[in-house]
Amino acid sequence: MSRVFGIELRRSAARGTALVVLLLGLVLIFFAGGILFADGWMQLAMTQRWYLALLWPLALAAGGWQARREHRSRVAELFASTPRPRALRIVPTLGAMAVAVVAGYLAMGLLAGLWIAGTAEYLPAAAFGVAAVGCLALIAATWLGLAVGRLLPSPVTAPMLAIAGLAAVLFTPWATRPRGWLSLVFSPIDQMNMPDAYTTVPGRVSVAQACWMAGLAITAVLLLASGGRRLRVAAVLPVLAGAALAITVMPHHNRTVLDAVDPVARELMCTEDAPRVCVSRVHSGLLAEFTPRARAGLAALAKLPDAPAEVHEDTTVYPDDGRPAWRADVVLLDVVAAPNGHLGNESSAAEVVVRAFRGRATCENPSDPADDLAAASWLTGQAPVSPTPSTLLSAGTHDPETVAQATQRWQGLRKLPEDKALARVVALRQAAVTCSARDGIITGGTP
């Protein structure tokens, strides 16, 4: 058995399948949509799942291609004279194809993982569940391909399977509308796109998806092993049972994954020494990079009375639960992982200073962003930075109009005597703390 398994690994479509899954997977995960997994391992696992959009149909087609071998080689006559039952004969092929897709998928994950290995520290158990469901989905696909390829041995079976698989993946959300949770049951890619930093895939979701895929895989094996019509009809039972079980286990509300937040990922991890700088656990690998910039920002703010003493990552997520409590002595700032996995541009010292003039999120009298920027520039002594096209879309950068206004107001502040300018900046900060901002604090105009 083990020797025959080795032969099948070498001579079936297994090696080619593993290689194509790996190469296509790497091209997709690095080049299709930018680096969507810079935040960490859970994001990597989910992004891999997202690209099953193409890998899943590919695995289906690979199975269909492999299944044609017996027909193409006309070995049926010879094999019919041998004692080993069909059900056992297919085992090495099933095993080799399963090993192939899993190896390709895991190698894709590991190679992409090298990209973030230096910065990603938080590895939640749920990420393994997400990856395991991905592997199971590919196994089910390639086995289903083998089964269909056996029942319809034709050169067009493999390409048709690829098209059908792609259509199934793409149309599942449309077909299950408005019950989005049903789409999450049946489609391995549903809600896996562009995961945010604190996201997770609840265990129940992974378990439900695993039930469905396992049912599909068992049905495929029965179809492959079956000699007669009766067994083929019986083969639909596992997939029905898997679907029923998955539907029972899956939470019956939409956006289960999109709205899921991993509280552990969101917990703050802080420096031990003062001034304290804290980032979420998912970004803990960025703390060392973030700390000097955050402290430089705090140093620039030190001229203010009751200056903020700490910088925390702003871990607010939509919807509105678990918003960090606003404190006057804490500057809240988004911490963003750049595509290379390191700290993004936005989390700079200048941005810390700007954010000190931002009031609580619920404040209905927010200050003019141009005022914030002008005050911050006066404190740091550096002109407001015009956004470059690459930073324009990212959070925390200001639009060119705001920057132009801020530059004008900053120059106004510079013309004033030091103490008068400081008084205006202090007033703006005070307005932020008390939620009483109005126009003209920086320009000196009356309300």
Partner: protein, 266 residues
């Protein structure tokens, strides 16, 4: 000391390796084997007959690929019928079909090993048996070549290697000499003579000379019925000077066939 052959030591629970009584086998809707009585023991049996005589259909039935439509077929003491469990019988079978299908990406060794696995050979015996089978058909130098790179004659020999890998008690070779050059045919004759010591070998062929040279027994069928069963020596005596053929055996073949056709025509 004399080498004791396997046939001598095996328990004789069944007198014949192949025993057909009134056997009927369909090829599609046509009754290709019709009321055939045949008993084959150890030895090399040459199966002769004109095209369409039912040779391949008979071979397929003996290989348990198609089920008999009627009569009684017993292989190695096990009766072959619709619901029979054929695993034990099949472990003792070797079969080279007329259209020998193989996996072109496998090497010769891998394919023979794969067939040994399908024949449920004990795991520990497989590597040795595979090498022996490849050596016996003279493919040692090509053992690790892909099947798709082999010439027609080599493919045929690889087909024989897979058929004999499990030391079958019944070896069925359907047109094994097609594609072999004269020298290879001589080697092949020697090989099947050797195999016939322990097994019941049934070789279907059109080449009467091959049968005379290498078989212990001649089986001739026509239109699904047994025409003649006897020794090659006896076949030679059946022909007269008026019969078609370039050798005594061919003349014997023609004479038997002509007589059977006349009798059937009556």
């Amino acid at each position: 000391m004399r080498t004791v052959s396997m046939a001598e030591t095996v328990a004789t629970t069944h007198p014949w390796a192949v025993h057909a009584e009134g056997l009927r086998v369909r090829a599609g809707r046509h009754l290709a084997v019709d009321e055939l009585d045949l008993a084959l023991g150890t030895g090399v049996h040459g199966l002769l007959g004109p095209n369409g005589a039912g040779k391949t259909t008979l071979m397929r039935a003996l290989a348990t690929v198609i089920k008999p439509a009627g009569g009684r077929l017993t292989l190695l003491g096990h009766e072959v019928h619709g619901r029979a469990d054929l695993r034990a019988v099949r472990r003792g079978l070797g079969y080279l079909p007329q259209q020998f299908g193989f996996y072109p990406r496998f090497t010769v060794r891998e394919f023979v090993e794969y067939m040994a696995w399908l024949k449920e050979m004990p795991k520990t015996e497989v590597p040795g048996a595979v090498q022996r089978a490849i050596d016996r058909v003279g493919l040692t130098a090509k053992a690790d070549a892909r099947m798709k790179t082999l010439s027609g004659g080599m493919v045929r020999r690889a087909g024989i290697a897979q058929a004999i890998v499990n030391d079958p008690r019944i070896l069925l070779l359907d047109e094994p000499t097609v594609g072999l050059d004269p020298e290879q045919r001589l080697d092949f004759r020697e090989l099947i003579r050797d195999l016939g010591v322990d097994s019941s070998v049934l070789v279907s062929t059109h080449l009467v000379e091959d049968v005379v040279a290498s078989c212990t027994d001649v089986v001739m069928i026509n239109e699904g019925r047994l025409v003649y069963q006897g020794t090659p020596g006896d076949l030679v005596t059946r022909g007269g000077h008026g019969d078609a053929g370039d050798s005594p055996a061919e003349r014997g073949y023609s004479a038997l066939l002509r007589r059977h056709r006349t009798e059937a025509g009556r």
